[in-house]
Symmetry: C2
Subunit: 152 residues, 2 copies
Amino acid sequence: MAKPSPLADMPPPLDSALDDLIGYAIRRAQLKLFQNLIGRLAEHDLRPAQFSALAIIEQNPGLMQTDLARALAIEPPQVVPLLNKLESRALAVRLRCKPDKRSYGIFLSKSGETLLKTLKDIAAQSDLDATAALDSEERATLLRLLKKVYQD
Amino acid sequence: MAKPSPLADMPPPLDSALDDLIGYAIRRAQLKLFQNLIGRLAEHDLRPAQFSALAIIEQNPGLMQTDLARALAIEPPQVVPLLNKLESRALAVRLRCKPDKRSYGIFLSKSGETLLKTLKDIAAQSDLDATAALDSEERATLLRLLKKVYQD
DNA sequence: CAAATATAGTTATGTCAATTAACTATTAAT
DNA sequence: ATTAATAGTTAATTGACATAACTATATTTG
């Protein structure tokens, strides 16, 4: 059962004249998407950053914690408990496999790969669910425009 | 001078296979917009929530703190320091002006109104700046689609 | 009317995330 | 060799935020 999500419901705001700002609209839409995803991932006792980490590790097997930190836009110390959690659940492993013995290579375990498949479906479903007001053409347009914004 | 903004730069991520999720794209785009706005508002020693509060008060003069909390999607205790700050800078005032003497009516001061005009320009400029990769038709489309998502 | 209950705002407390600083071990540079 | 830099970790600080408790009014109702 989905947790009651402390930040969950965004109440209908009073008229605030911010309505024509993309920054305002995107914040509200992002919150909706994020809350939806948080709820669904919670059933697997995972947070969005952990899901992102799994996806990044899959695409970049053997990467170092430093790389993961940069990719997640978090600081190295935050990577430690995150990876500890993934490792304790046997979803990922740290291996001393580099010429440089200070660093670890990070890999998904078999069950990490399996779970990630499920999580990707969940994320895709969450996306669809939270954007149910759009048809698939609009969704494609939205994605294209968002990429244009953040890739700039 | 703009503060070096602790969260500022989102580094180019490794390929992570999250690229086709709207939730992922919107988070990254939102962060870009938000960081841009934070930087610009910092020059006026204001945070986005304080700017939003000013805009909401302008549109709803005399509203109660409870209403403001709901509109900002924050808890009532958080309104206290926020309003204290606005009041200490003489941008807004709490007035016992209701039949119910437990509550305050909140209003902008003259200088609050004046500053808000400036801030709206800043926010609009921030929007344009952070979405410089889009032409104005694309911007309109993006805004329309985002509204559709969060108003749903 | 009196007592009980509810509400607006505030204060106090606890929790948790996230940044920073400092420590260990390895590696690279002079 | 000594020094400096880097990967990862631990520890300490800060800050956001929620929850609970307090005050003063207001409402309800017995």
